[in-house]
Amino acid sequence: MISGESTTAGEPVAVAGAVVARPRVRGRFSPVDWVRRGGLSAVAFALPMLVIFTAFSWYPITRLVVLSLQSTNLVDPPSWVGLQNFRDVWSDPLFMTAVKNTAYFALLALLFGYPIPLIAAVLISESRRFRGGYSALAYLPVVIPPVVGVMLWRYVFYEPSSVGLFNTVLGWFHMGPYGWLQSTGTAMPALVVESTWANAGTTVIIYLAALMSVDRDLYDAASVDGASLWRKVWHVTVPQIRGVLLVTFMLQIIGTAQVFLEPYLFTSGGPANATLTLLLLVYQYAFGNSIGVGFGQAAALSLMVAVFLAIFALVFLRLTRSWSTT
């Protein structure tokens, strides 16, 4: 499956008159000419990409729309039900719960996981000799398989009895033991902490790369003008890396809106649906019953989430286009 990263890189500068493609002959289309111009080899080379994308990307996307309008149970042929699935999802009290929980997760993740990597990256960028070491340390949790990370935190760190690792530490100060994952108030923050631990490294590296590419002359000029440290940060650093900051913000929102693994493996959406997120609800619709009646609702909810995120991304990019650096 697609890894979690995506980019919205701008179109690269097109090279005028691409090398291998021959200039097109106006007039009737002749198959022989087409082959001679390399048309067939282009198709042949593109075949893996076209087949794979058609089968596993473009087709499922359109299928999703179709599924959301049908009632499917995998065994009997599907029947058309119009917008009924959407109505079912909309009127499900768990839907609002999932929306609220997902928004809560995204907000907490933003609070924890957005400024801290930036501060870390700034500090690392000013280190003369240990940048590589710091980068590696920051990135380490990212390479740990998420399942291992969640299991480690769930069965050791967050273990609710007094022999849990965190509870042991708290025990030294005569506090606790706490059931981090068992109380409706602390379950979601507990998930966010682990999720930030596991993913902040990527953000640190991205920020670092951006910071390192800021033109030093700008800083020198600002220093010559007598700017203090904070003014330099505000007037040089931030504008220069604004593009990266904005894109990371957007990608983080999009990523956290789809959180599934942590709620599923930590708490199965509990306790009492306190960690039920949108994608977990999709999963429950689809696989939460033995007669398979929920695929339509699962598709409808998936579509709603996808459309919402797409609109969010487009609006965001539009609004911030003027703020990005050139």
Partner: protein, 457 residues
């Protein structure tokens, strides 16, 4: 252009090869003269001895039926992926489902109609009416063979009882006593005095329903899509308040609140739990997959309140056949069900043989079970294997003596899983929130359950 032509040929050949290899890997095994059936065997993770026991049975069956080949397949009922497995054709020919799900599956034609074959069996007429009803659809079609029935029971750790100063031969008979014992165990041994399933995979709701039954309550009135949900009756409120008190006031429930069927069994076998509720038939799992030390095992009937409808919820397992099984394969499947699941209940020779194989592989014989036919038959079957019984039958006396004095009731009939599903968050809220408003939560749950019942889900 020659090279480009060559290139084309190369690519076309490569593509063709790819397709051929792919198709070859997809092709089913070549046809055989025999009939082959896949049958559900043991849960993944079962011990080597348990697997050998199963294989011994398979060998015997194949000897008796040389034209049938049986392939055991690791299996555990998984409601979540059942539809997909079925659609994908990945279920064994013969597999098992709990009472809870059997009728729903039958109504949706997701298991085979085996009425004709079952009616030919000699013992068909002897099935207990309520038991065979669990495998009969509303249209009277038989879609499975009930082969095991159980009652919910209270399992307890005799060793922890002793350590806490309690008599292991005198398990609690009232809820007040249970509460007291739980407190004592947790205070004196540090283990959870009483634990209850709390995972939101419907097991939380299942046990909450069980406790409600013992207090005299029910989750539904009426039948089918016209049933009325009664989740928020005073009995359910009582059951959950009891839980709340043990959790927050007595603090006698330990620190894990997301147990489900296998995990609570495993925790119990590991000595972490003093008492808990589960089906009366879990001893086999405890021994086969959880490394239970038989010495610590005790089982008692559930404490019942002195209410009119107070009773014990029952359950069981049904052997079913994949809906696309026909002809010779269907016959073979029915023969396997007859051989593996039913014969030992009705034929002495089969019972002895089964017991012998179990004993040879150090598997439990004599686990408390429930009559599929009638009590007379049940007692007779037990007497056949008496000499092979290797479970600590004396430790099981409280249950064996007491259960037949209690009234057994079936699970809620309409949309059973949806009812449990609606109760899950209420149980979890009680575990997670000291100030959970039980009545309000149950009212909500009742609405959810009522909606599901009306929609036939």
């Amino acid at each position: 252009m020659k090279s480009s032509f060559r290139a084309m040929t190369l690519l076309v050949v490569a593509a063709a090869l790819f397709l051929v290899v792919g198709a070859a890997s997809l092709a089913n095994a070549g046809s055989q003269a025999k009939v082959t059936i896949n049958v559900a065997a043991l849960r993944p993770g079962s011990s080597a001895e348990a697997q050998k026991q199963f294989d011994d049975n398979v060998a015997l069956f194949e000897k008796q039926h040389p034209n049938i080949a049986v392939k055991p397949v690791e299996y555990a009922w998984n409601g979540a992926t059942f539809a997909a497995q079925l659609a994908a054709g990945r279920l064994p020919t013969v597999f098992t489902v709990p009472f809870t799900d059997a009728r729903t599956l039958g109504e949706h034609r997701q298991v085979a109609d085996i009425t004709a074959g079952v009616k030919k069996w000699a013992y068909y007429k002897k099935f207990q009416k309520t038991i065979i009803a669990e495998a009969t659809t509303s249209k009277g079609r038989i879609i499975g063979v009930p082969y095991a029935a159980y009652a919910q029971a209270l399992h307890y750790n005799r060793q922890l009882f002793r350590q806490a100063g309690l008599d292991p031969n005198k398990p609690p008979t009232t809820w007040a006593q249970l509460r007291k014992y739980a407190k004592q165990i947790s205070q004196r041994t540090g283990a959870a005095g009483y634990a209850q399933m709390g995972l939101n995979d419907n097991t939380a709701g299942w046990i909450a329903t069980t406790v409600t039954y013992t207090l005299g309550g029910r989750m539904e009135q009426g039948r089918g899509a016209n049933a009325t949900a009664t989740l928020n009756s005073r009995f359910t409120v009582q059951a959950l308040n009891l839980l709340k008190q043990m959790r927050w006031t007595d603090k006698s429930m330990g620190s894990t609140f997301d147990y489900t069927w296998p995990t609570i069994n495993q925790a119990f076998a590991a000595g972490k739990i003093g008492m808990f509720i589960n089906g009366s038939d879990i001893y086999t799992f405890l021994v086969q997959a959880a490394n239970l030390d038989p010495k610590i095992y005790g089982i008692a009937p559930l404490p019942l309140a002195k209410q009119k409808n107070a009773g014990v919820m029952g359950g069981g397992s049904i052997a079913v056949v994949r809906p696309d099984t026909k002809g010779a394969k269907l016959n073979a499947a029915l023969q396997w069900i007859d051989f593996f699941y039913m014969e030992k209940l009705v034929k002495k020779a089969a019972a002895l043989r089964d017991a012998r194989i179990l004993v040879a592989n150090t598997q439990p014989v004599g686990v408390p079970a429930f009559p599929i036919f009638n009590k007379v038959q049940y007692d007779r079957a037990n007497s056949w294997i008496k000499s092979y019984i290797n479970v600590p039958i004396k430790q099981m006396n409280p249950f064996l003596k007491g259960i037949f004095k209690q009234n057994l009731y079936p699970e809620p009939a309409a949309s059973t899983q949806s009812v449990y599903h609606a109760l899950d968050p209420v149980v979890q809220a009680v575990f997670a929130d000291k100030n959970a408003n039980v009545s309000a939560l149950l009212a909500q749950a009742n609405d959810v359950a009522q909606k599901a019942i009306r929609e036939g889900k």
